[in-house]
């Protein structure tokens, strides 16, 4: 009797074995039957990723530094940031990490765009209905905490090594912040302002686009910022399934115990993160400039 309390009553081994066998064999059959068509489905995305990476690498580096500096100026109007961007990118290239940085930037740009394109509409849909929120929230929890290799190994078996599984890995991890914060931002819009809009006869669509979203912007931009940071954090995991770039160099230095190489490439990842972050933050702040100053 006491055994029942000290040894947990597990399912018999044969049951567990049969469950494991069914799932593993089931996936093998699924891969055999649908593998080719799923690969074909993702092919345009793969071609887009390869194309963007080729463009970034082929473009002469002064043009790229110029474009990023220009974006920085347009977003922040601050010469300090522009100088910082130019110096940082120059140093990255000086230490021989230019191509890797371009490869990583390519996948991060596409992943962030995909995450935002999926995340913001999902966040808006969540904010409109409590049922939607209660369904989507556990899915987001799953996406953020399930160890990536658990779903990545089946994805690599289906899609092979390289950019598309890497993109999937990054998007799965990076989408939740923008979804959650969009949902939060819209729900937190002052009830009285919504009432005022309704009393002026705003249609639901006008309410969304002209009142709720503009007022939720600070929170939405915080979500976008977190998404960018999480996408860059996933760069190493993506490199573990063969995505080339800074992540793969960091992985090489970890496994070979090359300290300097790891620090340099890690620093390059931080440089990209800071550039992306400052530009998007500053842009977010500027489009809300109109909210400052007035006293109404």
């Amino acid at each position: 009797m006491i055994d029942l309390l000290t040894e947990f009553p597990e399912l018999p081994r044969t049951v567990l074995r049969d469950i494991k066998k069914t799932v593993d064999l089931g996936f093998k059959e699924f891969s055999r039957a649908y593998g080719e068509s799923i690969e074909g489905f993702f092919y345009p995305l793969l071609k887009l990723l390869v194309f963007i990476e080729d463009v970034l690498i082929a473009t002469p580096w002064p043009i790229i530094i110029g474009i990023v500096a220009g974006l920085g100026y347009w977003a922040t109007r601050s010469y300090k940031l522009v100088m910082g961007v130019i110096v940082a990118l120059f140093v990255v290239g000086l230490f021989g990490m230019w191509e890797d940085t371009m490869e990583t930037s390519g996948i991060i740009i596409v992943s962030t765009l995909v995450s935002i394109l999926i995340g913001i509409p999902l966040g808006i849909a969540m904010s409109k209905s409590n049922t939607a929120q209660s369904i989507v929230t556990p899915i987001l929890d799953f996406m953020q905490t399930l160890p990536p290799f658990v779903y990545l190994v089946p994805v690599v078996m289906l899609l092979g090594i390289g950019k598309v599984p890497g993109l999937i890995a990054v998007v799965v991890y990076a989408v939740p912040p923008v979804v959650r914060l969009t949902n939060l931002g819209i729900r937190e819009v002052d009830k009285e302002i919504i009432e005022a809009a309704e009393s002026f006869g705003a249609t639901p669509r006008q309410k969304l686009y002209k009142v709720q979203i503009p007022l939720a912007m600070p929170t939405i931009f915080a979500g976008i910022n977190q998404t960018i940071m999480m996408a860059l954090a996933m760069v190493i995991i993506a490199s573990m399934i063969g995505v080339k770039g800074l992540g793969l160099e960091v992985l090489r230095s970890i496994t070979n115990q090359y300290l300097a190489l790891g620090l340099l490439n890690g620093a390059a990842i931080v440089v990209i993160a800071i550039i992306f972050d400052r530009i998007s933050q500053a842009y977010g702040k500027r489009i809300q400039e109109h909210r400052k100053g007035g006293h109404h």
């Binding site: 074995r17 891969s31 290799f149 190994v153 690599v156 899609l159 090594i161 573990m240 992985l251 496994t255």
Partner: protein
């Protein structure tokens, strides 16, 4: 199911359509049969992850046989799990795949792969292998590459400290010194473990109870198939 050893493997199904792929010359002649995951117009060869000794050896052997010149490109899979998953996925989907792998492993146990063979004088030799294990040689291609050589059969060794040898009972040292399993036996065990989804404990119990012919002689010494030690081991797992 093959025993294994290290080497370059292809899914056995590829041999039905192209029997010449059993040799390395056949593989070199057909880069178009091994699709690159990014749709590039080169043959894909899956190498080893960084930090693994086989990244050095497989790259040097790749260069020695002129894979690059024949139209192949090495793919760094990033991790062992990704290498195995890519091989397994290609096998299940019936696609072409060539790369470094080793056995006995679960992958080779559950799926059918064949080790590509090399010419009679292109096998392992001590002096040629010295070049292959040197990391700086990884960048040398064409005429500068190492001479053609291939992986030897791996032996299983037992290692112990001299302290241990001094204080261990004679019977224990006899067992350790005579303990050996063939590739086939280990492969068969891994097969069973994978099919039955055994945990390591279950696998050990299976080995003790069901495969006594494999270990009795090692434990009892010489040609004896029964002894008090063997009975004690069997009793312990009941």
């Amino acid at each position: 199911m093959s025993g294994g050893g290290e080497g370059f493997f292809i899914p056995t199904a590829m041999l039905d359509a192209n029997p010449e792929l059993a040799t390395i010359e056949g593989v070199l002649a057909n880069p178009q049969l091994f699709p690159h995951p990014e749709g590039k117009d080169v043959g894909a060869f899956y190498g080893c992850p960084a930090g693994w000794n086989c990244q050095i050896t497989s790259t040097n052997v790749f260069n020695a046989f002129g894979f690059g010149e024949a139209g192949f490109e090495i793919i760094d899979p990033g991790s062992g799990a990704a290498l195995g998953a890519a091989a397994a996925g290609a096998h299940d989907k019936g696609q072409g795949w060539v790369g470094y792998y080793w056995g006995p492993t679960a992958l080779l146990g559950l799926r059918d792969f064949t080790k590509v063979s090399v010419g009679a004088d292109e096998g392992w030799s001590a002096d040629k292998w010295a070049c292959v294990t040197e990391e700086p040689n990884m960048d040398k291609t064409g005429a500068d590459a190492c001479a053609r050589t291939y992986y030897a059969n791996a032996t299983i060794e037992v290692a112990y400290t001299s302290d241990f040898e001094a204080r261990a009972p004679k019977k224990v040292m006899d067992y350790l010194n005579n303990r050996t399993f063939s590739d086939k036996e280990i492969g068969m065990l891994l097969d069973v473990v994978a099919q039955e989804a055994y945990s390591p404990q279950d696998a050990a119990i299976y080995m003790v109870l069901e495969k006594q012919d494999l270990w009795s002689k090692m434990v009892c010494g010489g040609t004896f198939t029964d002894c008090p030690e063997k009975q004690a081991i069997i009793a312990a797992v009941q």
